[in-house]
């Protein structure tokens, strides 16, 4: 069974802090994704990566960056956290190919105060 593990379930950070959200998958998937989930807005893609050291902007990349130094790990970085980044953050991975769906992590609920 594929596992996507997000290091923290809940986080509370202060405005202006640098925040790291970690995601690890154990099935050698090439593709990894970061989404944020907000009520009424569904899932919005922040960044994704198709390979090690490769990253692409999604639909809402502003205020975020990512790092993929190893295939299994994809980190989301909030350079200077703001209150409008309070959200549920979901990491997902998938093999390459159009027919495959994602496997999601359990999410990190981030509150910025």
């Amino acid at each position: 069974d594929v596992k996507v593990t997000q290091s923290s379930r809940y986080l509370v950070k202060r405005t202006g802090e640098k925040v790291f959200l970690e995601c690890v998958q154990d099935m050698d998937h090439e593709n990894m994704f970061w989404y944020r989930q907000d009520p009424g807005l569904g899932l919005r893609l922040i960044y994704f990566s198709y390979d090690v050291k490769m990253k692409e902007k999604g639909d809402i990349p502003e205020g975020y960056s990512v790092s993929r130094e190893k295939k299994e790990r994809f980190s989301l970085i909030l350079e200077s956290a703001s209150t409008n980044q309070t959200s549920m953050y979901l990491c997902a991975s998938s093999p390459p190919g159009q027919i495959y769906g994602y496997t999601f992590g359990s999410g990190t609920r981030l509150t910025v105060v």
């Binding site: 989404y35 899932l43 997902a92 190919g97 159009q98 027919i99 769906g101 994602y102 999410g107």
Partner: protein, 112 residues
Amino acid sequence: AQSVSQHNHHVILSEAASLELGCNYSYGGTVNLFWYVQYPGQHLQLLLKYFSGDPLVKGIKGFEAEFIKSKFSFNLRKPSVQWSDTAEYFCAVKNNFNKFYFGSGTKLNVKP
């Protein structure tokens, strides 16, 4: 711009009622279609998917969905819901650039 529309944001049903959740997408090329479910406090799980062949797709827990290409729709159905189906349901489309687009979700509450 590509988009996925879920028309019902919140659906309340009694147990044993039939369910149909609407999903429409806007993309003219080849797509693969998915429904995901998120039970309270749990992560998103794949319910079913369509990528070719029979447009009526059966998934887990008695759910099914029908792909109607002419209507750009992929509606989710279940003949008789249970209290344990209370969850949020997301429709998603994957285009031929391997990019996913998700709908805004439909919250289903099933009254026991």
